[in-house]
Amino acid sequence: MSENKLNKEQLLLDLLKKKFILNESAVRRAKRVEVKVDPKEIIPVLLYAKENSRYISFAHMSCVDWIEDGEFEVVYILWNPEDKINLFVKTRISRDNGVLPNIDFIWRQANTYEREIREMFGIQFEGLVGRQEFILEDWEHMPPMRRDFDTAEFVKKTYFKRPGREDAKDVREFVQERTDEELPDFAKKYSRD
């Protein structure tokens, strides 16, 4: 990718850098600008992007659990239909008692995303209205999308298992034991270790 092709992306990044305190930000690829900000800067940055830079379309909002760092990373992805650039606004909050501002007055559909993230990760959004229960019902355990929630262990405790295949052995090993046949070469190639 030549330098002059990423003009628009660089322009936007410079504009944002002048206006806000950004942590580490870069033009990752063509059509892709990434900025990292503090939680309290979220609303100003998003509002600026919407009102002044024509990032009118709210494409996605997601949350990633970085359990090693003890932090959640929340990503807001905006789309500018004129310049055709994706703006990633990333922020990190603590895993234990993270609170984020509610942005559903900027984009109405953000309400749905925030309700899901509240339920699946346990992040609180200030002033978010809407039923507490969105997808799950009567859930009394840890929010399920957190990395430390072990779904296989939970299933073992809660649900029944049909007998058979308890050893969960590789099918190829199982077949080999039963038939004493040599595995074909293509099957050996894809071994687990």
Binding site: L136, D138, T151, Y159, F160
Partner: protein, 181 residues
């Protein structure tokens, strides 16, 4: 009475014959298997020639088709719907995920073995089963009905305590009446 073929009275044989040719499926798409029901019902596969057709309400339906995985939130509604249906009623487990969880075996929100919660008469395996397999499943159910062996509803009544215990293990907040018969 229904369990033994030899002891079937002539009345039962006639009754069962009538029953097996008018199977009304409850229109409840509980999972992704519901996508293969419209093709089964329409021109190419035309399940109506076997007397299979849809019914909008549980009170008028004979067959409850569990089309795939059951989320725990859905299970509560399915139990309510099943208990509202009139005897004799049949349950068909549709798809691998009703048998042993299928590819959702380690999911925190779906049950794995359906017949611990509801009495299943026929399983159709596959992900997803083709319309031919669905029809084959229904034909199998018709055979069982004729022989008087499709008695899951009877077993459910006899072992109601065990079924209820299993159901309540998952549905922690049981706000409905214990029986909706």
């Amino acid at each position: 009475m229904y369990n033994d073929k030899e002891s079937q009275k002539i009345v039962d044989i006639i009754q069962n014959y009538a029953r097996k040719h008018s199977l009304f499926i409850l229109a409840y798409g509980t999972g992704c298997g519901a996508i293969e029901i419209p093709p089964t019902m329409t021109s190419r596969y035309d399940a109506e020639r076997f007397g299979i057709r849809g019914s909008a309400t549980p009170r008028q339906a004979d067959v409850l088709l569990i089309t795939g995985y059951l989320a725990t939130k859905s299970l509560k509604r399915v139990i309510k719907v099943y208990e509202q249906m009139q005897d004799p009623k049949y349950v068909i487990g549709f798809g691998s995920c009703t048998i042993n969880g299928g590819m959702y075996w380690d999911s925190y929100n779906t049950i794995n073995v359906l017949d611990k919660y509801l009495p299943v008469d026929v399983y159709i395996n596959g992900c997803m089963p083709r319309p031919e397999a669905v029809i084959a499943g229904f034909v199998k159910l018709q055979k069982l009905i004729q022989q008087g062996k499709a008695d899951g509803w009877d077993i459910y009544k006899k072992n109601i305590d065990e079924y209820k215990a299993n159901q309540k293990k998952i549905i922690t907040n049981w706000v409905m009446p214990d029986f909706n018969f």
